[in-house]
């Protein structure tokens, strides 16, 4: 009767029970947020697979969420295909991305954008590819997912929140919403049990520069002035 008691993953590594998270067979990149990593199969962003990020609009904090993973790409370039607005070089530098490795591809037509994304995945020379798109056909998604599987590239698609209703071949789908100190992350799809309550992920650096605790801000200001003055003058 040992076969009955055997756990699912002992039968085959790609099997898992509906109540547990799949164990990542492929490589993963750490998300940099322990609370999020704990909820993802394999403990990080899967490499060589399609990941969907669903956002209401650009600028909710999606790049700050990805920053630890993008920094892990090291010297390999990070490609931004069809970004919704002009990315700001100084802004990317501010959140901690190295500006030398950023590659931006603008396209007029969706076909060109899909082609570029596929070429970048096939070449496999980029550490990460972030692809913004409004509407993509399911067949194109599958094609990109296939291209991603043959590469060692972290592949993320940023799509509108409404696309959560459509099916997608993505291994992982997260819905992102802004919150007071960062993001609320809803796991729409993952290899594992569905999670009802959203995750709250604090993001750094926060654009909110005024502290809500005025006293705290005043103290830090005092520290700065004390350091600015030469010590012999103070004593």
């Amino acid at each position: 009767m040992s076969t009955v008691t055997a756990t699912a993953e002992e039968i085959h590594p790609s099997l898992w029970r509906a109540s547990q998270l799949a164990r990542g067979r492929g490589r993963v990149v750490d998300t940099g947020y322990p609370a999020l990593s704990a909820e993802l199969p394999g403990g990080g962003w899967p490499v060589g697979a399609l990941i969907d990020l669903l956002v209401q609009q650009a600028g909710v904090g999606e790049l700050r969420l990805l920053r630890p993973a993008l920094s892990a790409a090291g010297a390999r370039p990070v490609a931004l295909v069809q970004p919704p607005h002009t990315p700001d070089g100084l802004g990317l530098n501010y959140i901690g991305l190295s500006v030398e490795n950023v590659l931006r591809v603008d396209t007029q037509k969706t076909a060109d954008a899909l082609w570029s994304a596929e070429q970048i995945l096939r070449a496999g020379s980029c550490g990460a590819l972030i692809f913004w798109s409004q509407y993509v056909k399911a067949s194109s998604l599958r094609r990109l997912h296939l291209a991603a599987q043959s590469s060692e590239t972290l592949f993320l698609m940023v799509r509108p929140l409404a696309a959560a209703q459509d099916s997608s071949p993505a291994l992982l789908r997260l819905a992102l919403r802004p919150s007071a100190d960062g993001l609320t992350v809803d796991i729409v799809k993952r290899r594992g049990p569905s999670r009802a309550e959203p995750l709250s992920i604090p993001l750094q650096p926060t654009p909110v520069l005024l502290s809500r605790h005025a006293r705290l801000s005043r103290r830090s200001f005092a520290d700065v002035t004390a350091r600015g003055v030469p010590t012999e003058v103070v004593s």
Binding site: G59, G91, V99, L209
Partner: protein, 459 residues
């Protein structure tokens, strides 16, 4: 196909219509008036033979053009490099296919032997003994030196090469001259062979005429591929790599001559790979609009340098090499244009829209030192959006609340694009943050309502 007004080659359709070899022009037209007749052009045949020779130089620098539309390539030293004889023949066939030709490909230890075998199909032998067996069965008439004495040999009862070799050598030499015996000896490897190896021009420039007028640039891809195949053969033989090629599309000459359309392709990395060059050209041809129909193509190698052999690391890196990335960038630039494949190159300027400069990846300017800890949004709107005002507060979806001290930016008086702005980070009710600014009005417009703009988003 006609030569001296006699049919020399017919296709299946013509044969079905009753056209036979040796017919005269008049006879053919009587049988089937719609037959297309072409005059054989020895000059063009020689030119295409030379094209084949140059293209085949990728396998070996020793290529000789022989009579009766045959090319001999000495591949003895290249067999291992190309993965064996079968793989080599397959590649050679593919090369010929792109040139729009078909060929019988044979291999033998002697050049003359290979020549004879190729006359009778695709036969590959590697050993002298098996070559002897093969050659023995070939009709004697296929040896060019035998043909003048064909009737006489037939009278003797000779049919194959083996029969001729059985005749006494001294008698043969006296009656037929020494060339016949020499030729056979060379084929069987008992006499040394000498070939006039094909000499290459010092610069590469090839031209082909299109069989028809091309209205769309996409149609030129096939012709361009033929030229690239020749270019690659030339590069391999010369051990060079190109860093720039130029494709000229020559237009139909109307009332006045039109300048040929020029496509210049500059490569970041020297290359001699056919596949990569063809992909680049394809993307470029896909983008251009023709002003007039194209009748001919010309390809020039404008910049060459000596090739550096690829170094294979024992453990390939997961992300591919730097060359792979350079090839990817070239491909993206070829299809999307230089202005759409960008890298950030922020400049030292206080105005955010000027500081946020993006340059084409091909631009190799040096990176400036960036200020650290300067709060800037991740996304910048190209055109700032004027915000509505509700109860004296800027409104974007919901009333905005300032969550940062102001940052005053006043610059640009030196180049006539003065900006006087106070930037703030504002938070909407759904907790998303925006980078907004208030235009500082001069005292004259002070009575007007303040003008707020949305300029950036924090991604």
């Amino acid at each position: 196909m006609l030569e001296k007004d006699k049919v020399v080659i017919t296709d299946n359709a013509a044969r079905a219509a009753g056209v036979r070899l040796g017919m005269r022009r008049g006879g053919v037209l009587t049988l089937s008036p719609q037959t297309e007749l072409y005059e054989r052009d020895a000059g063009r045949e020689a030119a295409s033979l030379r094209d084949v020779g140059i293209a085949l130089m990728r396998f070996s620098p020793e290529v000789a053009l022989l009579e009766e539309a045959t090319v001999v390539v000495e591949v003895g030293a290249s067999l291992r490099l190309f993965g064996g004889l079968l793989a080599l023949c397959r590649e050679a066939k593919a090369v010929l296919g792109t040139l729009g030709l078909t060929a019988r490909i044979s291999a033998a230890p002697t050049g003359q032997g290979a020549w004879l075998l190729a006359k009778f199909g695709n036969r590959r032998v590697l050993k002298l003994a098996s070559l002897e067996q093969r050659l023995a069965q070939i009709p004697m008439i296929s040896v060019p030196e035998v043909r003048p004495f064909g009737d006489w040999f037939t009278g003797l009862g000779c049919e194959t090469i083996a029969d001729i070799r059985r005749l006494p050598r001294a008698g043969l030499q006296r009656r037929c001259g020494e060339h016949l015996l020499d030729s056979l000896d060379r084929a069987f490897g008992t006499a040394p062979e000498l070939f006039d190896w094909l000499e290459l021009p010092p610069t590469f420039s090839a031209r082909i005429e299109m069989p028809d007028r091309l209205e769309h640039a996409d149609g030129a891809v096939f012709g361009a591929h033929r030229l690239i195949v020749q270019l690659c053969g030339w590069l391999c033989a010369k051990q060079l790599a190109v860093t720039g090629i130029r494709l000229l599309l020559e237009h139909e000459r109307g009332r006045d001559a039109i300048e040929p359309t020029t496509i210049d392709i500059a490569l970041g990395e020297p290359t001699w790979k056919e596949e990569h060059l063809v992909r680049l050209l394809k993307e470029r041809l896909h983008r251009i609009e023709l002003s007039a129909p194209v009748i001919a193509l010309r390809l020039d190698a404008s910049n060459v340098e000596s090739a550096v052999p690829a170094s294979d690391t024992l453990f390939p890196e997961p992300g591919g090499s730097k060359e792979d990335h350079a090839r990817l960038l070239e491909l993206l630039v070829a299809r999307l244009g230089e202005e759409n494949v960008l890298r950030p190159a922020p400049t030292a300027d206080h105005r955010p829209e000027v500081a946020n400069r993006w340059v084409p990846v091909t631009n190799k300017s040096k990176q400036e030192v960036l200020p650290q800890g300067l709060p800037r949004p991740t996304w910048m709107l190209n055109d700032p959006v004027r915000l509505l005002m509700r109860q004296h507060r800027p409104f974007y979806g919901s009333p905005l609340r300032m969550v940062s001290p102001g940052e005053r930016i006043e610059a640009g008086w030196f180049d006539g694009e003065l900006v006087t702005r106070d930037y703030f980070v504002a938070q909407a009710e759904d907790q998303s943050c925006y980078w907004i600014y208030r235009e500082r009005a001069s005292s004259r417009h002070a009575e007007e309502e303040q003008r707020w703009f949305l300029h950036g988003l924090f991604g």
